[in-house]
């Protein structure tokens, strides 16, 4: 019964989406306010209906209703409850329901919180959002129904992939989708602006918070996925340039560029056409990612069961949405009023450089990801584009970006004094030189490691110096600086945090790659191995039983200078449905790095193959990502984002005229 309600809710949601996509748009174009007013209630209703559908699906998984095909295929009575629930979105059909739910969530968000938007813009945005919803709901209802029944109902399900039975991975899709789908708002804003024929700074002020929120969630999603790979996939790798990883990374790169170019639109009324294009591009990349994951055109460990039929529909949808919006862009963008000018050396110029480098990096990732397909289509030749390609091409493109990020925010608008900015950063330069020296003395490390340290320190200190500079720290009275600190818009703190976060990530990557210690051996009980100054004593292995697996668990006692640090117990788990073996590495973070142990095969006579690592500062990678996300949320809490157009009331207008306007630096 509940399942049928869920399906019906989806069908209704589709109907509502159709209405939301057409009626308000006609109302706005023809000047019929009652029709235009349909947008907001439609968006909220859509949220309600998709929530009901999603709830019904979750319910079916929670009670293990095996008369529902989706539950049969993706669940099992032996699975822990958390993973039963996560199983709802860990498959193609269920994840689509989540897709439309989040789409409706963001739409309803604009409907409810967008009171300060001009009604025409808001209505158009909601209409475009509705159009996207129509496509996905149509796909779900008619071609990927998660509520399909199976008669007779089997006694048990066929189980979920054991790799997905993991807290990190349970939450990875929701955050990813919040990010992917959140960019739909930026897209809708862009298309709405093209329809209206107008982009002004106010438009950017409204787009940024939504884009920033989506970006933050996507960062969490990508970070979670990477962190999961680190502790789950057995040898401590955390990024493989796998096509599906790249599919989530490309929107992130585009979204980052979008955030930065939108600043120029907001502050300087420039880069408008480019920003509109970026907004379309970012969401298009989200859709392309959806296509890649579900169609089977590319080889990946991540792909859902590939089905060319699904691929055809998604491609068709892609052609409609992306093709349509890009055609609209080609036709309408030229009529957008050009913005103000700026010198190459200026904050705008810095942001343009940011976009230039991010776009080049994006294009590179795109090229590497799609090249096997293109080559196969053209010549039938098969080639693998693996990590070696990306590492050699992506890193050199991002390096200048990291270098410039430190003093970008210090450049003035329109025309800046480069030498002045660099001079103000001499403290950062000095610290960087010092760090390089220390690195060279202690490790005589590879060139890339030294470069990484230099970049990371430069960016970290530079970001802090930039903040200090704004506060006139040490250059005037402390109380003065304090006053400035209190009045500084939160977005400034957000910027510092975000850029510092990137620096921490760079340092984490550099440290863990350059100075990792790896040790592979077969150990017998009682054996001891020394890795990076830690002593690992293998106590032995025993068989253990988990809720739905059998495992071999090894026990290691770790000491340093005779003092016991930890007991670590890695496992090798064998599942039965479906049959698979996974490695549960034992990870122990210490102050300087992670201790990482994976236990593998037995040699049949009491010895076990083991991999022991010391990975310096590797957790900084994800800590840095969290700092970036924190920066985003700090920025989002800035009251400027909640103040949109000036209030209509007279008293408020007078107040606005009298008070100093919230100018950013």
């Amino acid at each position: 019964m509940i399942t049928e309600i869920g399906y019906f809710a989806l069908v209704l949601a589709l109907a509502v989406a159709v209405v939301q996509a057409t009626v308000p748009l006609i109302g706005v174009e023809r000047g019929m306010p009652s029709w235009a007013a349909v947008a907001r209630p439609a968006a909220v209703t859509q949220l309600g209906l998709t929530a009901i559908a999603f709830g019904a699906l979750i319910y079916a998984f929670v009670v293990s209703d095996f008369s529902v095909l989706n539950v049969v295929q993706n669940s099992h009575t032996a699975k822990p409850m958390l993973y039963k629930v996560a199983g709802a979105w860990g498959n193609h059909e269920g994840s689509l329901v989540m897709w439309v739910l989040i789409l409706a969530l963001f739409g309803a968000g604009v409907a409810v919180f967008g009171s300060n938007l001009p009604s025409g813009l808001r209505t158009r945005v909601l209409a475009v959002q509705g159009m996207i919803g129509v496509g996905f709901l149509f796909f779900t209802v008619f071609l990927s129904n998660p509520f399909e029944r199976v008669v007779p109902a089997p006694l048990d399900g066929t189980g979920l992939n054991p790799l997905l039975q993991d807290p990190g991975l349970a939450f990875h899709p929701p955050f990813l989708y919040l990010g992917y789908v959140g960019f739909s708002i930026a897209f809708s804003f862009a298309v709405a602006a093209l329809i209206e024929g107008r982009v002004d700074p106010a438009w950017a002020r409204w787009v940024r918070p939504w884009t920033l929120a989506a970006w933050a969630f996507l960062t969490i999603g990508v970070g979670l996925g990477s962190w999961w790979a680190y502790y789950e996939l057995g040898w401590g790798g955390w990024w493989f340039w796998d096509p599906v990883e790249n599919a989530s990374f490309m929107p992130w790169l585009a979204g980052t560029a979008l955030l930065h170019s939108a600043i120029v639109v907001e502050k300087r009324d420039g880069l408008k056409t480019w920003t509109i294009f970026l907004a379309i591009l970012t969401f298009s990349l989200s859709l392309l990612g959806t296509f890649i994951v579900r169609s089977g055109v590319l080889n990946s460990v991540h792909t859902f069961a590939s089905d060319p039929a699904r691929g055809i529909f998604i491609l068709g949808f892609l052609v409609l949405v992306v093709g349509g919006s890009l055609t609209l862009f080609a036709v309408r963008a030229p009529s957008l009023r050009a913005g103000s000018l700026f010198a190459p050396i200026s904050r705008e110029g810095g942001l343009v450089l940011n976009n230039l480098l991010l776009m080049s990096a994006l294009a590179t990732v795109f090229l590497g990801t799609m090249y096997p397909l293109f080559l196969d289509a053209l010549t039938g030749e098969k080639v693998t584009v693996g990590p070696p390609f990306f590492n050699v091409t992506f890193v050199p493109l991002m390096t200048p970006l990291f270098a410039v990020m430190a003093f970008g925010p210090m450049l003035a608008w329109k025309r800046a004094d480069l030498m002045g900015a660099v001079t103000r950063l001499k403290f950062a330069l000095a610290l960087t030189a010092f760090a390089v020296l220390v690195t060279l003395i202690f490790s005589r490390g590879p060139v890339l490691a030294v470069l990484g340290v230099a970049l990371g320190v430069w960016l970290l200190v530079g970001s802090l110096v930039e903040l200090a500079d704004r506060l006139r720290l040490f250059r005037c009275a402390a109380s003065d600086s304090w006053r400035r600190a209190r009045n500084l818009p939160r977005a400034a703190y957000g910027t510092t945090l975000a850029h510092a976060g990137v620096a921490v990530v760079i340092l984490g990557i550099t440290g863990s790659l350059a100075w990792e210690t790896e040790s592979l051996q077969v150990l017998r009980p009682g054996d001891t191995v020394d890795v990076a100054g830690f002593e690992f004593r293998f106590e032995g292995a025993r068989d253990v039983l988990g809720p739905n697996y059998a495992a071999v668990r090894g026990t290691f006692r770790v000491t340093r200078d005779g003092e016991e640090i930890a007991v670590m117990e890695p496992e090798s788990r064998t599942f039965t449905t479906p049959p698979m073996t996974t490695t549960e590495a034992a990870i122990r973070p210490t102050t300087l790095g992670d201790l990482y142990i994976a236990v593998g095969e037995s040699d049949g006579s009491g010895g076990y193959a083991t991999r022991i690592y010391h990975k310096p500062v590797i957790q900084w990678i994800w800590a840095g990502a969290l700092i970036m996300v924190a920066g985003a949320f700090v920025s989002l809490s800035d009251r400027r984002h909640r103040v949109g157009a000036p209030a209509r009331k007279k008293t408020a207008a007078a107040q606005a005229a009298a008070a100093p306007s919230p100018q950013g630096t």
Binding site: G296, V297, G323, F329, A330, M370, D376, E381
Partner: protein, 183 residues
């Protein structure tokens, strides 16, 4: 001036075309690197209960032959096996079998149960010879011409359609070409 705004949509059109075409391709199937080259040198021992295995010399006798890589533990091999049985019964072409990383007893049992279409079977116990053929899974089927040149490789199951539309035509063409050369 307006033209540059059409660059994105044009680029997308190209991409969409590539993706559409990509849907018809199979990224997991890799073509053989050995097409047009001679077979590797090898010598495989006999299967249990049979006198002789076979080697590369046997495949250079001047006839176009089929080489089928199979194993008793390979489920899809059972699917295509009847086709080879039928083909063997017509006597039209010689089929050689490479038994890939199999247990000798199990293999002999499998052939006894499902029939033996092979003129000769060689036991590749460690899979090394098969690797020299570029084999990466079972089943795989090769068409080899009279001089020992590999003309065609089929990865995974041979379906009636594949047999009809791909393998038999290749054999035909090879035979015609062989007749022309000898004339």
């Amino acid at each position: 001036m307006q033209l540059r705004f059409f660059v994105p949509i044009t680029a997308f059109a190209v991409l969409a075309a590539a993706l559409a075409f990509g849907l018809t391709l199979n990224p997991r199937e890799i073509p053989s690197a050995l097409i047009g080259q001679t077979i590797p040198d090898f010598e495989l021992t006999a299967l249990k209960g049979r006198e002789r295995g076979f080697g590369s010399a046997d495949l250079r006798q001047g006839d176009v032959v089929l080489v089928n890589v199979f194993a008793s533990w390979c489920r899809p091999c059972r699917q295509e096996h009847p086709l080879f049985m039928d083909l063997a019964q017509t006597g039209d072409i010689k089929i050689y079998g490479i038994n890939y990383k199999d247990d000798p007893d199990a293999a002999a049992q499998w052939l006894a149960t499902f029939g033996d279409p092979y003129r000769r079977v060689g036991a590749d116990l460690d899979g090394r010879s098969s690797i020299n053929w570029g084999v990466y899974g079972v089943p795989e089927t090769f068409v080899v011409d009279g001089s020992g040149q590999i003309l065609y490789k089929r990865v995974s199951v041979v379906t009636p359609k594949v047999m009809r539309e791909e393998i038999l035509p290749v054999i035909e063409r090879a035979r015609l070409a062989g007749q022309e050369v000898s004339r």
